[in-house]
Every structure is written in C-alpha cells, then in structure tokens.
Amino acid sequence: MLKVPADEPSTPWPRDDFSRVPYAVFTDEDIYRLENQRIFRGPVWNYLCHEIELPKAGDFVTTWVGETHVITARNNDGAVHAFENSCAHRGAKLTSAVRGNAKRLTCPYHLWTYSLEGDLRAVTFQHGVGGKGGMPAGFEKKDHGLNKLRVAIHGGLVFGTFSDDTPTLEEYLGPHSISQIDRLLVQRKPKVLGYLRQRIPGNWKLYNENVRDPYHGSLLHQFQVSFGLQQPTMRGGIKLDRDLKNTWNHSIVTEQDAASQKIVADAYAGTGKFNPDLKMADPALTKVPLDLGDNYKTTILSMFPTLILAQVDNTYAIRHLRPKGPGLVELHITYLGFESDTLQQTQDKLLTVNFIGPAGYISLEDGEALRLVQEGIRHRRPGGHEVLEMGGVGPIVDTDYLSQEISIRGFWSFYHQIMGLPAAGHPETRP
C-alpha cells in the first residue's frame, strides 16, 4: 500500500527564538478557528472604537472582535458598554447598522428589548395572551442578557475583553503604548475626518508582521524613498512591551545628504526600482509640515492582536484588523484630525490622506504585499517556514536601528504562548 507522506513536519516551530514561523499559521482553517477562541475570546484587550464616536447617550457603533459582531454603546449615565450583536432568544442580529443612536435595542424577530447595558428589559407576551401561553413561571429576564464584554478605556480608545483573566488595560498596553497614545490622542482632542476600508486577501497576522517590519519601509515603498519620507539611513528603532506583543516603531526626520543618497542608490542597484530624478508635477503633498513638531517622521504603535495607532508623516489614524477567514482581512482605518486644527491643517490632512489607505501612495502597496505572500504560500509545497533573521537572531530586544525583523519575532513569541502551542524549538534545529 502506498504510504502518503505527512504534509506538516511534527514540530512546526523549530526555533525557540521564533526566527522560523510555519506558513500553515496563515492558511490553516483549524488554526484560524483556534485563534477566535484563544485570542479574540481569550485574555486580550480588543479594540472596539474611539469615544469620540459615541458623543451622546444612546450612540452606538458596531465592530468585529475576531469574527464576533459586537455593539458598543453609551448609556444614559455616560458609561460605555459592549455586547454581542445577537439576541439571547434565538440569536438574531439586533442591528445591521454600522452606527446609530437608540434608546434601547429591540430584536426585529420577536421584539425582545434590551437596555444599552445589554440587559433584557422586555419579552413580548411574557405572560401570554388572554391568560394563555407565555414564558414559564421560572423565566427570569436577568438570566437572559446579551453576551457582554468587559470594557476599559485609555486615551479615548475603547477596548473590550471576553475573558476574566485579562490583566488591567494599562498593564496590557505597557508604558510605550501608553505614552504614544497620550502623544497622538490625548494632547490634542481628535475628530474623525473619515473612514477608509480595505479588504486585503491575506491573513490578519501578515498585517501584524507588516506593521512590525521597518525593514520593508524603504524597499517596498519607493514613493517614500523618492520623496524623502523614509530612508534606510534614517535614525529610528523599535521598543517592545514586556510580553513582546506590542511594538512601537519610529523613525526621525533627518537631512538627506549625499552620503545617504549613495547608500540608497547602492541598495537599489540592479533592482530597477530607484529613480532619484523622480519629480511630482504638484509636490504640495510632500511639503505639508509635521504639525506635532516633535520630529518623528513615522511612528507605528502595534498592539496585539488587531490595533495599530499610526502616524505616517502628517497623517494620524487608528487602524483595526477584522479577520474574515484565514485568507482575508478587512483593514478598517479611522482617519483623524484634531479639534484644534486650523482650516489649513484640515485641508492639509485631506491632502496627506493620499499617503495612506487603499489608494495611499504608501499604504496601497502593503495590500499588494500581503496578497502576494498569501498567494505565494498557498501555492507552495506544504510545510516550510518564514525566515526572520534580519537584525539578528536569539534574544528579542529593543533596537536603535530599522533594518530588523526582531519585533516580528516578538509578535510570534506572544502568539505562540497565547495559542498554547507545543513548545518551540528542537535541540537539533536551534541556531
């Protein structure tokens, strides 16, 4: 009888520094289902919305936690509550609206009604009609509320968790995240300038890698290099939280000198990609001043599992990942201005939005990169691993340089732990 060889090696995580990642994590349906259970319903804080989207009592927004549809609402006391968008009776979706205002939430099917805290308030015909029918005597409304999430807020960012084991939000975010949230969202009061949505045919973790990967910044994004937004010679680095799950990447404004131009030209030699003479017919987009005035050119704060707070040049945005199966993710962007912005600063931001989002001169390429990876790994022979050695292997540490993949290894180290996967590293395959 023919023996069918196993598709996967027995230890898919051969190195305990996470410099090898099995491609199966991006394609396997079982792993994807396990993620919904162990990550999105596990001890993590999931981003729900920003408080500015709920200015009044009764305001609500809907979002996705993994593949669970969640309503986040402000009640009459001003408190924010979150619960699943699924009736306790027969499971129907309570609302199909993305956002709205309501005094209460009524299921369209049998008109069961819930408070803005997610508690069941009324059951139609609970006591029957004309003395007949109705719910049994022991039926208690308090036992049939919506499935609730615990809510915590920092810097206006509203988070929810399904687990009782999640640490406090401040502990979970860590000091680098807290200081960056304060820098970007607290020192000026944000306002929403618009939403951008991009459905990327790639796994949600590929995007987590992308935002923890400053190595690609000046290589994939030729626009950035050509117009001085990002240079491989720029100063910058990464900082990780103690769990290695949250990363802050940053680069700092530097003068483009002849030496840095030479390094760029050498790096691109033979690729046909570098075009030092590229000019724009109207370069206004690249001349918008950085209005924070602290010399950070790009700062990307990536918080496990699905939230990114990004400043790319003079753009400020909350990016949220909404997985739609192993091979598709919606990237949802809340594009921000600030209450204190002058008319000119608002106009500037309606111009610089051309850097980001699905049509962004920079960001559109990340969608393409993810698509190419997902396509590439879907069509390769089973097994196989990513190679993450740029910047060094071994300990996962902060760096003061940008050509590195160490922060990606940090993501995987935490992912591996929270998923409860068998120990990484075979003695014989360690580096």
């Binding site: 300038l193 939403y195 951008l196 949505r197 459905r199 626009f223 017919a281 987009l285 111009l351 699905p358």
Partner: protein
C-alpha cells in the same frame, strides 16, 4: 444645442473617459481635465452619508491629477495590475445655470468596474457613480470637478488606478 445632442456629446465624453483608463492611455485621460482648474476625488459612500470630508483619493490640482497616473506609468507603485473594464450607464445631464450664459454642465452616471487577472479570471471590482462638472473651454468640454462616489468602499485589495 438640443438636449439630445448634448446628451450624446456627454455620453461620448464619458465613454472616452472610461476607455482611456481601461486602455491605460493615461495622457488621454489627463487631457480630459481642465488644466486651469480641476479636482478629482474618489469618495466613499459611507463618508459622504456621514458628512465626513476625507476622500479615498484626492487630487486638488491639475498637477495632482497628472501625478496620480505618472506614479503608475513610471513604475513607482507596486500594485495588482488587473485589466479593468468600466461600464458607464444612466447618464444624466443638466445645465448648472440654465438662465445664464454659463455653459457648465452637471453630469451624473452609474459606474460598474470589472477586473480580470492575467489568467483570465474576472470579478466585480467596484460599484459607484460619477458626479461631474464639465466646463466649456474653447468649445471643448473638460472636467472641472469629478467625484467618484463608491458604494464598494470596502475596497478589494487597493485602489491604484483612478476610476
């Protein structure tokens, strides 16, 4: 000019607009804009309905319109290079100021864009509508303002080529 002649002229303009992009004759597309004063925006229906100003793509000068396609032609951007087919329908035309001598026209039309990959597999890429203001420059219609309002604001992968 009779209404029917006007309707036919505007439809011919829109068909050339769509064909110039489908065929990647980007210089011809740019030539449909008023070099003196023009804007081009792609807006999501979601933002439009909420009264939020941020576009998905926003060009506020003729130079910016040129740059959008120059970045494609010069190979600056890495993007999925599909074949696109734009179908324009339900074209409606009215004069911006019927009482005056101003020849500006307000044009609305429906838009469906199909995408086809290198192996001949097609799918629906975009549903939306054109909202356009045309101006008469030396007897020729040119675009003063163009807004493409997209219902498919959950954009498939990316939007590199203008709609």
């Amino acid at each position: 000019m009779s209404d029917w002649t006007l309707q036919a002229r505007v439809q011919a303009f829109l068909y050339e607009y769509a064909a110039s992009l489908d065929e990647e004759r980007f210089d011809d597309w740019v030539a449909l804009f008023d070099p003196g004063n023009c804007t081009y925006e792609v807006l999501s229906r979601e933002n439009r309905d909420l009264g939020l100003p941020a576009p998905i793509m926003g060009c506020y000068s003729y130079g910016m319109v040129c740059d959008r396609v120059a970045m494609l032609v010069k190979g600056v951007l890495t993007y999925r290079h599909n074949h696109l087919l734009r179908q324009v329908s339900n074209v409606r035309v009215r004069r911006a100021a019927p009482e005056s001598k101003d020849d500006a026209l307000l044009v609305q039309a429906g838009l469906v864009v199909h995408q086809s990959d290198e192996e001949g597999v097609s799918s629906l890429y975009m549903v939306g509508r054109y909202e356009m203001q045309l101006t008469d420059v030396g007897g020729k219609h040119l675009i003063r303002h163009m807004a493409v309002v997209v219902d498919s604001f959950g954009i498939d992968t990316m939007l590199a080529v203008p709609l």
